[in-house]
C-alpha cells in the first residue's frame, strides 16, 4: 500500500532524513518517535509534498508521489491530509469555513473568492464537526476556540478532504493531557472506523504504546527502531533518544497510573 524507499533530505551539509525505508500493507496507526531534530517532521512534510525530497521514492499504491508537480502534486496533497502541532487554521474565519477548506482542491478559484460552497458541502462540514463533538462552535471564529477545539477543527478539515492517509505532526504537543486524549481518541476512531491510515509524530512514549499498531523510532535522520508497541521497552527508548540510564520516561509522563510506583503527587507536579 505504502512503500517508502531510501527517502533522503539534505539541508546544506546536514542529512535531516537519511535513507528512510519502510513498507505498510494495511491502513494502520503508525507512530514515529524520536528527539527534536531527528527528522520526523521533515519526513511527514515530504510525504505531504510541503518539502521536496533530495532522493528516494514514496510509492502509494504503486505510484511514486515524489516526482509529482503542479496540479498532480496538489491532488496528492488533497488525498494525504496533514495535521499540525499549531493547528494552522485561518484564525479570522469561522469554524465551518475552515473545515470547508478541505475541499479547496476540488473548488475553482473564482468560486473560492465569492465563497460559493454548495449546500451539500456545508452540511457535510457541519456533520463532521458534529461527529467530532464541536458542532456548537460552528459559527465562531477559529481563533476564539481553545487549543483542543482548534485541533479538532483541523482534524475536521482533514476529514473534509476525504483522505486516504492522515499525517499528524505532533498533534498533541501543544495540548493539555485531557484534550490530548480527546484528539488521540479521535484519530484512532478515524483509523478504525473509516479505515484511513494515520501516521503521527509523537513526543510521549506512553501515547505511542497506547494508540499505535506499529512504532518507528528515528535518530539523526535514520530509522533506528521499527516494531510493535510491546517491543518499545525503556532500553529501546534510551537508544532512540540517545540517553543514558538516568533517562526515566515516567519523570515527565502525563499518564495517570495510581497502581504504579509513581506517587500521585509527583504526577501532579509535572
Amino acid at each position: 500500500m505504502l512503500d517508502v524507499q531510501n527517502v533522503t533530505r539534505v539541508f546544506g551539509d546536514k542529512r535531516a532524513v537519511d535513507r528512510v525505508s519502510f513498507t505498510l500493507h494495511q491502513p494502520g496507526f503508525i507512530g514515529i518517535i524520536g528527539s527534536s531534530g531527528a527528522g520526523k517532521s521533515t519526513f511527514l512534510r515530504m510525504m505531504n509534498r510541503l518539502t521536496d525530497a533530495t532522493e528516494g521514492r514514496i510509492l502509494y499504491e504503486g505510484q511514486d508521489i515524489l516526482p509529482l508537480r503542479g496540479a498532480a502534486a496538489r491532488n496528492w496533497q488533497s488525498r494525504c491530509a496533514m495535521i499540525f502541532q499549531q493547528f494552522n487554521l485561518v484564525p479570522r474565519l469561522d469554524v465551518v469555513a475552515n473545515v470547508l477548506h478541505g475541499k479547496l482542491n476540488r473548488q475553482s478559484t473564482l468560486a473560492t473568492m465569492f465563497n460559493l460552497w454548495s449546500r451539500a458541502d456545508i452540511l457535510r462540514a457541519i456533520d463532521i464537526l458534529d461527529r467530532l463533538g464541536i458542532a456548537e462552535q460552528a459559527t465562531k471564529r477559529a481563533e476564539a476556540l481553545s487549543g483542543g477545539q482548534q485541533q479538532r477543527v483541523a482534524i475536521a478539515r482533514a476529514l473534509m478532504q476525504d483522505p486516504a492517509i492522515i499525517l499528524a505532526d505532533e498533534p498533541i504537543a501543544s495540548l493539555d493531557p485531557m484534550n490530548a486524549q480527546i484528539v488521540m481518541d479521535t484519530l484512532k476512531r478515524i483509523n478504525v472506523e473509516d479505515g484511513r491510515m494515520v501516521i503521527a509524530n509523537l513526543h510521549t512514549l506512553d501515547t505511542a504504546r497506547r494508540y499505535c499498531d506499529r512504532v518507528i523510532g528515528m535518530r539523526d535522520g535514520r530509522i533506528v527502531f521499527d516494531g510493535t508497541p510491546e517491543q518499545l521497552t525503556t532500553g529501546v527508548a534510551r537508544d532512540i533518544y540517545g540517553a543514558d540510564e538516568t533517562f526515566n520516561e515516567h519523570a515527565t509522563s502525563t499518564a495517570i497510573r495510581p497502581e504504579r510506583a509513581v506517587p500521585a503527587a509527583r504526577v501532579a507536579v509535572h
Binding site: N115, R119, R124, R131, A135, T139
Partner: protein, 290 residues
C-alpha cells in the same frame, strides 16, 4: 460517506443557523459589489463630464507626447551620452536630497511610531498626539511645504530636503506603527520580567523584530523620495527636476535632453531597487542562518 450520521435535532438547528448566516454573508457581498460598481461608473462619468475634452476623444492623443519625445531623441541619439554626462551632477544633487531626507524622516517616523502604538508607547496618553502629528506631516503636500520654505529660505536643495523629510516622517510614522502593532509581545514580557526599562525593552525586544520591515519600507520610501525630489526641482529646489523642466518647456528641439534625463532617472530607480532587494535578502538570510 462514513462520516455522515443521522442528524439530531440540535444539529439541524446548527445547520439552519449556519446556512442562513452564509446566505446573509453572500447577500452582503453582492450588495457591496453593486455599490462598488455604481461608485466606479458614476465617478468615471463625473470625471468625464467635468473634463474639457472627453476621454474617448482625447485617448488617441495620449501617446502624442511620448511619441514626439522618442522620435526626436532617436534622431539625435548621438547626443544622449553627452546630455546624460552634463545632467549627472544634478542627478547626484537629487539623490543626495532624497538620501538625507529619507534618513531624517525615517528617524523621526520611528519616534512617532513608537509614541503612537498602543501597547508600546512610553506615555499612552500622548498616543493621539503622536498620531495626529503624523497625520499632519502626511496631509500637507510636500510641494506646498517646499514653496513656503523657498519663499523664506530662497531656492536650493535645503527647502526640498526639509519638505520631503516632513512628509517622510508622517508616512513612515504610520507604516512603522502598523508594523509595531504586529510585534510579538512575549519577548517584551520576558525583558520586563528581568527589570529592563522602556528603552532597553524597545531596543532589544521591538527593534530586532521590526527591523527587516522598517528597512524595506525605508528603501521603498527612498525610491519615492528620489522621484519627489526630482519633481521639487520643477519649483526651483534644484537638482535634476530643474534641468528636466528646462528641457521640456523651453521651445522645441530639446527633447533629446529630456530623454537623457528620463533615462538617468530610470537607471537610478532600477539601481536603488536592485541594491535594496540585495540588502533585504542579505538581512533575511543573515537572520535565517542564526
Amino acid at each position: 460517506m462514513p462520516t455522515v450520521l443521522p442528524a439530531s435535532a440540535r444539529t439541524v438547528d446548527i445547520r439552519e443557523e449556519y446556512l442562513s448566516l452564509s446566505r446573509r454573508k453572500r447577500m452582503y457581498g453582492g450588495i457591496l459589489l453593486v455599490v462598488f460598481l455604481a461608485m466606479f461608473v458614476s465617478g468615471f462619468r463625473i470625471a468625464e463630464f467635468r473634463n474639457a475634452a472627453s476621454l474617448s476623444e482625447g485617448f488617441s492623443r495620449i501617446l502624442d507626447f511620448p511619441r514626439d519625445l522618442i522620435t526626436e531623441a532617436w534622431e539625435k541619439s548621438a547626443n544622449l551620452p553627452a546630455h546624460a554626462a552634463r545632467a549627472f551632477p544634478a542627478l547626484v544633487e537629487t539623490v543626495n536630497i532624497a538620501l538625507v531626507s529619507t534618513i531624517l524622516g525615517c528617524i523621526l517616523g520611528t519616534l512617532l511610531a513608537l509614541a503612537g502604538t498602543r501597547g508600546l508607547a512610553r506615555w499612552p496618553r500622548l498616543i493621539p498626539l503622536a498620531r495626529r502629528s503624523a497625520d499632519v506631516c502626511r496631509a500637507v503636500p510636500e510641494i506646498v511645504i517646499a514653496l513656503v520654505l523657498i519663499f523664506i529660505l530662497g531656492g536650493g536643495p535645503v527647502p526640498a530636503m526639509i519638505a520631503i523629510a516632513i512628509h517622510t516622517a508622517g508616512a513612515q510614522g504610520k507604516l512603522f506603527s502598523e508594523v509595531n502593532e504586529n510585534v510579538d509581545l512575549k519577548p517584551l514580557e520576558g525583558l520586563a520580567s528581568v527589570g529592563a526599562n522602556w528603552w532597553q525593552r524597545t531596543w532589544l525586544g521591538v527593534f530586532p523584530q521590526v527591523m527587516p520591515n522598517y528597512l524595506s519600507y525605508s528603501l521603498l520610501r527612498l525610491e519615492i523620495n528620489i522621484r519627489a525630489s526630482a519633481i521639487l526641482g520643477f519649483v526651483g529646489a534644484g537638482g535634476i527636476g530643474y534641468e528636466l523642466r528646462n528641457a521640456m518647456t523651453f521651445g522645441q528641439g530639446k527633447f533629446d535632453q529630456a530623454a537623457a534625463i528620463f533615462l538617468l532617472l530610470f537607471a537610478t530607480i532600477v539601481l536603488v531597487d536592485q541594491v535594496s532587494s540585495w540588502m533585504r535578502n542579505s538581512l533575511t538570510r543573515g537572520r535565517g542562518a542564526q
